[in-house]
Symmetry: D2
Subunit: 288 residues, 4 copies
């Protein structure tokens, strides 16, 4: 009768490579060590133009971001929405990296693109909608670049870790997890940030975990408190959308921070990271 | 402040090809007209062997099924679970079709496989986990075979129709929708069958809609009442998993009907379809 | 580690009086036997005035309803919304009963009101928001009137049955369950009708179960297909909101059927009930 | 067609007394000012015996808690579970207050008990299952004691604030909100802590908001990181279950912290509260 529990138990046993071990995974990207240093990824939702991307890249670099984000391939609900600049977008990102020194992360959505896209970027991102796109997971498991795996908006934590297992099982050890909010009945926020998922991942796995408060809340005013909560929960970093002209953005402008807001946020986050240095949020042992 | 409503409204406007029009879409497959005749798709979750598939195919044919289902590519939560027989499975399905005359439907999970898989089968299925795999949707939009699009377990009805729009927009008019249960807090059933989604699709779109009570409930004892409820709600068909040795099945055996159970179910369903002939469940107009 | 499954298992063991037994519970109300005859409860959401309630009562009587519904105490999200007419409303309901012969059902929301309200009505209703108001459950367990217990919009089926257990345990055997939709991420419908809950209740318990498609969907055009689906799933009845002037209703007017729509619905439902007479939707046994 | 958004907009307009104003509400209890000082409420889930309650009360006092929690009336899923000691429990709590000086908070579940229970305790708690028990809300709105209103596990933030409005509207200005997790599809944790709800309340209302990580997670090892995340999000306090013999607890023992764990937690939390003194998590304005 206890159908789900059974299936779930079975799934836990399948976390062979993703489950907790002595050493935490540390993913080196440029001069950041994700899993050790607190990492701030920032940038526009979509790469819209060279001018837009480079302007924002300079802002976030100056504010103290470690990695530049920007989408060249956009999975959009509607076929009539902006689908991203593709190769042109990747070239713009590469130029932004050259100018700012920031490593770049971008989403890949098609298994046929994995190899060539991986040559342009420093981290490949698997988006929430593709979390269980197993063909894609297997492909990114074969390349020599770190992969950031977003949690599906409908996915349990154990399913999420099982998807990390797919990548690890293909031989790529550099997997970063990203909690970006789940679907619930609450409609005030775009999604519901499952902050406890950060903690669960910390207790079940050795993989670093990042929080994306921009997609989780969909509201700029909630991004700073949720970023700070992420730091305090023990997350290894945040990913934040920034745009200097949000009202003109081709996607998700409504949730972007302005550069000056992002600047203040980075200061707050770095302060809190320092405060947390001597606090170990994970001192209580799981009951048997 | 009303973030979601806004996004949702915007999405509704994007249903250009999927939205209701004068004529219902009728998808001809073999001698069944889906959208006009009530269609019963049945077969094993996975193609496991020639013997298994052909045995079940004969059972469901004799019981009165119209279409044979069977998975050759299986999207599994764990990389260590049975992943399907691939090409070998397709050949087995083709043989089963030859022997029984039943058209076949199978899931495709990789855009690189769409062209060649489509030559083996009569209907291509997009599974729930791939509902928003837009690369895959675009590929199945280009082939000359009907596509059955399952609703994502986390997806709103409007997002589901938007994914149908992706396929229609590539030029393939033969899209069949399939409600297979959504995720909720209820754990007694595998998923929660959203029977009202059948009705919503009927009022918003011209596309036929099938119900999969096997995945929706995960419990054999609930499949007959949910199949009958689907008929009464106005669904255009059902898809049911059948296995003669469920305890040996390589996937989802726990939810399969036995052949004799399926046999009785088909009789009940056909009786109810006849009863429903003169009842139009959609006589009340939407309020403005 | 399997926290929820454990708690759930424990809860199942607590269904001592509500769990399935040889005989189904049949609740006699007037000349209807709920659990044996298919029952149609109908009427306005709120009792607003004598004229309104009696007009609607006559309509639904003539159309073939068995029981008149109408709220005198309204649990409203806002303190500034219409809260019901209270005693005055009960007197109007009693008058409507006198004129039409229809037994009446009304919601009670305060344990202090249970005794005296029960003298006015034929069935006491516990609303979804009060499903786990245990003080109220204990009070209705002590009176000599049938109780209809709506499922909480957030409640698992086992929790719902546990609340029935509270009533049964106080000595009142006449409990009727009512599925009225649960909360999910879907926003197109007011709630998500969990039609499989009807089936689960049928397999776990001896209590009759009614479906409320009005609250489950919140949309008039979906009420007929969902009513028919309820019949086919094996439900023991439906409860439908009817209003002759929905645009003037003080609560939930948007989801009310017009009298002529209700009239057609009753005919369809009765036809389908006849069709279902020889079909047993519950012939498949639960696997061990 | 946009049903829910409409209802939701309507509800927002009903937040007359609860909505943001110039001054934050500060609730004085003993020598704590909730809304100004960070408050730590702690104690057993249930008052089980004098020895148990006083032992735990002394532990939490010494560790630095501000307020003692303990249930005398327990809303339990099953009628056969421990229902609380009632009056006897209140007397034990009163004794614990006398010995430790800690103000006490306890849940009230029946409108008939509100007056007399309020004479025993310093804060009345409305539990999640009773959030929309409007009779109860009206009663606690009439007494001269602060009320802590837990969010229903199924309730939107706006519905929660509307329930605060019910209390405020009866004349009681001392309302404290408490986020305790909502229901989602995730089963690893008992509930899903909606940490963004803290932030939303801070931007929509003047009321203080507390987080209950014990009920939100159901797992001791997650309580410290979620407590710290609550501090960083700007919450006004936490409520934590502590038990010196969790394996013997009559309710919710599995999620209780041990006294020494609670002791460390208080130190961590107070440290972080100090760190946060100069950080304003709410510096970004809502977009229009």
């Amino acid at each position: 009768m206890f159908l789900k529990a059974f299936i779930w138990g079975e799934k836990m046993n399948n976390l062979r490579l993703a489950k907790k071990k002595k050493e935490k995974t540390i993913v080196k990207v440029g001069n950041v060590e994700i899993g050790k240093d607190f990492v701030i990824m920032a940038g526009p939702c979509s790469v819209e133009s060279e001018e837009q991307t480079i302007t924002i890249a300079k802002y976030v670099k100056e504010a103290g971001a470690n990695i530049l984000r920007g989408g060249a391939f956009k999975p959009r609900t509607s076929p009539y929405s902006f689908q991203g600049l593709g190769l042109k977008g990747l070239k713009i990102l590469a130029k932004a990296r050259e100018l700012t020194g920031l490593p770049i992360i971008t989403e890949v959505i098609d298994p046929r693109d994995v190899q060539w896209v991986s040559e342009f970027v420093d981290i490949l991102q698997i988006g929430a909608r593709n979390m269980q796109n197993f063909s894609l997971l297997k492909e990114v498991g074969k390349v020599n670049k770190p992969v950031m795996l977003k949690r599906g908006m409908h996915s349990t934590i154990v399913e999420w870790l099982s998807c990390a297992e797919y990548i690890l099982n293909e031989g790529n050890p550099n997997v970063i997890l990203c909690e970006r909010g789940i679907r619930s009945f609450e409609t005030y926020t775009r999604n519901t940030l499952d902050i406890s998922a950060v903690s669960v991942v910390k207790t079940l796995s050795h993989l670093p975990v990042i929080v994306d408060p921009s997609h989780a809340t969909g509201r700029p005013e909630l991004i700073p408190p949720m970023s700070l909560a992420s730091v305090a929960s023990g997350a290894d970093g945040i990913m934040v959308e920034v745009h200097h002209k949000p009202e003109e953005a081709l996607s998700d402008g409504a949730q972007a921070l302005l550069p000056e807001e992002f600047n203040t946020l980075v200061k707050q986050v770095r302060n809190l990271v320092n405060c947390m240095k001597d606090i170990n949020p994970y001192f209580v042992k799981e009951r048997k």
